[in-house]
């Protein structure tokens, strides 16, 4: 059965239409759709195996879709790799952060995208300066931009990962469980940064298990269940009971609205 969902008529940065993805015999995603506007935080929730991570990895360019289409600024695009998605303005804060623990903060901020001198040389000085200034802008306190990542706490690492997404100046920022391993104070710090990003007009797609966080920060919540879109709600027009019901399937999937 085909499901479709009506969207508001705002100008959308990213729009995904009826995408499907399977791994062998397992259908991870079936005709899922999604869209996000500038200055909007969209949370994706669902049980384990609902397809959240698959969906985000598709948008990040890590997985390629079997069918369906992806539009960026109204133009259809094919996301070939994470680096390609990044070059199109889609930054990702991966669940495992995609950091190299042995390298220092500044080098990690520019990982895969270093500042260059004469094509083949690394411009370390500029990387340290730029990192220091962006961390200061965001109010992130670290021991030093020269410190290797493995001496930082979980919250500090998460902050660096988020700061990297900001540095990459993407229009769309994907975050996979950005508060999963964090304490209360660190969670608030990361949420504060995410709010700042929304205020700057970025589009943010967030995966989280933590409904507290989701309700605290999102504009819209989209529920996935068993690889399909179960429904989408404005935060102001729903409550936790309804969302939990949709996650567990107690409330059946939305029909064409």
């Amino acid at each position: 059965m085909k499901k479709s969902i009506s969207y508001s008529k705002q100008n959308k940065i990213l729009e995904i239409h009826n995408i499907s993805k399977s791994f062998g015999n397992i259908d991870a995603l079936t005709e899922a759709s999604l869209s996000v506007c500038p200055g909007e935080i969209l949370s994706i929730v669902g049980d384990n195996g609902a397809g959240k991570s698959t969906l985000i990895k598709i948008i990040a360019g890590v997985y390629q879709i079997d069918s369906g289409s992806i539009y960026l600024n109204g133009k259809t695009v094919e996301l070939k790799s994470a680096a390609h998605a990044l070059s199109l303005g889609i930054s990702t804060v991966f669940q495992d952060l995609a950091m190299v623990e042995t390298l220092d903060v500044a080098t990690n901020m520019f990982l895969g995208n270093p500042l260059k001198k004469a094509y083949i040389f690394v411009d370390r000085k500029k990387m340290y300066e730029k990192t220091a200034s962006i961390l200061k802008d965001l109010g992130i306190n670290l021991p030093s931009v020269y410190a290797p990542i493995n001496v930082l706490s979980g919250g500090q690492r998460q902050a660096v990962a988020v700061a990297r997404a900001i540095l990459q100046e993407g229009q769309v920022i994907l975050m996979d469980e950005p508060t999963a391993a964090l304490g209360v104070r660190e969670t608030n710090q990361v949420l504060e940064i995410i709010n700042q990003l929304r205020d700057r007009g970025k589009s943010i797609i967030l995966i989280s298990h933590d409904l507290e966080v989701v309700f605290n920060i999102s504009n819209k919540i989209q529920v996935l269940r068993l690889g399909k879109v179960q429904g989408i709600r404005n935060v102001s027009e729903t409550n936790k009971e309804e969302i939990v019901g949709m996650i567990t399937g107690a409330i059946s999937a939305d029909k064409i609205i």
Binding site: A82, L97, A98, V100, T102, L111, G112, I120, V122, N150
Partner: protein
Amino acid sequence: MFQRFFNSAGIGGPLIVLWIILGIFAPRFFTLTNFGNLSVQFAIIGALAIGSTAVIICKEIDLSIGAIEGFCAVIAGICIVNFGIPWPVSILIAISSGALVGAVNGCLVSVVGIPSFVVTLGSLGIVSGISLLITGGRSVYGFPEAYQWIGQGDLFYIRSPILFTGLLLVFMHVVLKNTIFGLNIYAVGGNENSANLVGISSLWTKFFSFLISGASAGLAGVIISSRLNAANPTLGALDLLDAIAAIVIGGASLSGGIGTVIGTAGGVLLIVTIRNGLNLMGINPFWQQTAIGSVILIAAIFDRIRDKSR
């Protein structure tokens, strides 16, 4: 404190202690002749170890460097002595052959995805077999004077092989420290998954690391054949152990992502000093093997301690 002591800079202490001990117990240690010998030994093991440091930082290992050294010595010998090819061209052919073996290693590791331990163990066998086959197991000798200068000559009181290994050291230091490629080596070794996610090609990074390792082993082969004025197919078999030991002693981590060629150079100096000192003190060569083996194990234990204290 503990941590700092075991870091790559910690090599200076043991080295000074060792030199003082040798100064007391081996009177011939502090002589010009002996320092000449020491520097030639340093140049040969150094070319192997410095060239292979990038592979270790990539969290891989190249066990074929010793075999490549012997192979390239033989190639240079046959080109010059048997085919009469001019010696500069022969050197190019020899080093390119080393690079080619390195490239094949790199392909099998990064494209086919076989663990480097297995790949280079295989190529060690193949390459040393080929060396024996093309020479019939005999030495090739009778190099021209100009060629002998590479291993035996000197320039302003500096032994010439040191010049070549010194150039390699400077080159690799700049590559690792200042280039994008060098940064990618550290990233791939530190966390290959993350590196791939952000668009760094671990495939090409590993491929070129193995290529450099092979080419440098080729340089070692050229130096040793020139030094001995003979190319023996079994040359270099023992040097593998010394080179890998030197890299680990020099602070490169077998868990990847950490290491410098300056540290490796220090490790090489320590290893060749131990060998040289044991020789001077007239200690049985069989014990020397045991001593170097112990040093490798001690270095590996320090490597673990370093990892844990992180």
